[in-house]
Amino acid sequence: MAEPMKSDNQWHMLTVIGADRPGIVARLTEALFRGGCNLGEASMVRLGGNFSIMLMVQGADAAALERLVRPVTDALGLRLHLDPIHGELHQHIEPNVQVTVYGADRPGIVAQATAALAAAGLNILDLNTDVGGTAERPIYIMLIDGHAVEGVAAVERAIAPLRAGGVEVRVSALDTMIG
């Protein structure tokens, strides 16, 4: 994207959450664009029907950013949060392992799985979970991409005991084809 017009190169992470409706991203980014801001990486996801976005923004200080975005979030009944961050672009870490965990929903799946993965030296790069199934019989699904510092086999060994707890675990090596 183009360099911002303003001299303020500080990045901020803008977090906006609230009831979802069509057009939120368009209105937020329109306000930021008109205010001379530059966007970095972003992730928007619906969680339990709620809108959520984390958006790297550059080109205005925190007070100016809030002045740009607040009218939009107030009008749409959304909550906003701003943090100054270090914007580390062009330094992606390539995942080398994918872990899928799923099973009948019960407390502790994420805590147990991620504790085992952390102990095995896995750096989680992307994690998302869903609750599927029915209200009566919910199932929990977690997908993780990560970088296994100590190798994929170490991850497999570390997480295998979770299977005894009734969850399904699949560990597969990710080998990115560079052409």
Binding site: Q91, M177, I178
Partner: protein
């Protein structure tokens, strides 16, 4: 041998369609050697296509022999290649020397039969599967001005795009 400069997107030259090779001469042999040297100079690269080095002819090299325990044909030098059969669909991650610092999930045929001429102009056919088939499809796309960015799908959902 020389290592060429690799064009990087958004260079518009990467989006053009390359022309067939008609002369299987010394200049082609020399170019193939330099193209292969360029591929091997790229970090972890298992394939390269001529348009990536500003040479708009239908030439690609694929060599996945550095990957352990997969079906493969060694170093494939593919001149005027075409995929004459394909089967299956599989998702995988791809990156590209022409698209630094970005990798994405791409759906490819699980297996392909590629027909191509070799460096001497002889017609050859190779049945490729899995990782090698992915590399072949990625490189052949370059010859038609397509990047993996043209085929990337959301990694977050296990959904295939609807066929158009």
């Amino acid at each position: 041998m020389a290592v060429f400069e690799v064009l990087q997107y958004p260079d518009p030259r990467l989006k053009q369609v390359s022309k067939p090779v008609t002369a299987f001469d010394a200049a082609l042999q020399s170019f193939l050697a330099d193209l292969e040297a360029t591929m091997r100079a790229g970090p972890g690269s298992v394939g390269i296509a001529a348009p990536q080095v500003n040479h708009f002819f239908r030439i690609a090299i694929v060599d996945v022999s550095s990957k352990p325990n997969i079906p493969q044909h060694g170093c494939l030098r593919l001149i005027n290649p075409e995929i004459v059969q394909h089967a299956g669909e599989v998702k995988g991650r791809e990156g590209c020397m022409s698209v630094p610092d970005y990798t994405g999930t791409v759906v490819r045929a699980q297996s392909v039969r590629v027909r191509a001429q070799d460096a001497d102009g002889q017609c050859r056919e190779f049945d490729c599967e899995g990782y090698e088939a992915r590399a072949v499809q990625h490189e052949l796309d370059h010859l038609d001005g397509l990047l993996f960015l043209d085929r990337v799908v959301s990694p977050r959902h296990d959904l295939f795009r609807r066929k158009r």
